[in-house]
């Protein structure tokens, strides 16, 4: 599957005074728990160890998070964060856009997904190494504004 990068708005700051957008590798991921499902944007993040999502998505999918399946992690700060994990079914949906082959098939796979409150402010999922990169070959072609998931 070929997916175009997405431009998102971002305000300029003192380090990047001329910047007003940023290019990210994003996919539309359908996450299902039984007959409940939601599509959420996810960043394909090779620097993330795991696949994690905002906790409110678990609530939407009817998943009761258990401390029996909790795991600690951290981002760039020192603060330890907790994610609770559950099995879901994930499907990468072909993105719509110019120059994209309309015949691309969705990619469905089982995913042991983490849900955490601290990802709420990001408002997207992160597809990391265990569960995503461990399953697919991903070729980033940033200069050409697309990436491949094989």
């Amino acid at each position: 599957m070929r997916v175009p990068f997405s431009f998102l708005p971002i305000p300029p700051d003192s380090a990047f005074p001329n910047r007003d957008e940023i290019k990210r590798p994003i996919v539309a991921l359908l996450i299902a728990n039984g007959n409940r499902q939601t599509v959420i944007f996810c960043v394909v993040d090779s620097g993330a160890d795991l696949c994690v999502f905002p906790a409110s998505l678990a609530n939407r999918l009817g998943i009761e998070l258990s401390q029996d399946k909790a795991s600690a992690f951290s981002g760039s700060g020192e603060t330890t964060q907790m994610a609770c994990f559950e099995e879901v079914q994930a499907t990468i949906l072909p993105m719509d856009g110019p120059n994209i082959d309309p015949g691309q098939e969705p990619l469905t796979f089982p995913l042991y997904a983490g849900f955490c409150d601290t990802l709420e402010h990001v408002g997207m999922g992160l597809l990391g190494q265990e569960g995503f990169f461990s399953r697919f070959t991903v070729n980033f072609r940033n200069a050409e504004s697309f990436f491949e998931i094989l």
Binding site: I10, V39, F41
Partner: protein, 63 residues
């Protein structure tokens, strides 16, 4: 390949709220502080498969 430009549709997105984007990514169908409420509202407005995201925070970089 031409990238997907979300800058226009997200330009005036309410900060800190969940957005339900049309699957064609050309408009915000509904928004709410609550993910479920935003998605339900989008369904009621006829969007069968909205794409959910939160309005990008001002410090939108992810490390």
């Amino acid at each position: 390949m031409k990238p997907i430009d979300l800058t226009t549709v997200l330009k005036d997105a309410p900060q800190g709220e969940w957005l339900a984007l049309s699957f064609s990514l050309d408009r915000i169908v509904a928004h709410s502080p609550n993910l479920s409420d935003a998605e339900e509202a989008a369904h009621q407005l006829g969007e069968k498969m909205p794409i959910m995201m939160k309005a990008p925070p001002l410090h939108a970089l992810i490390l």
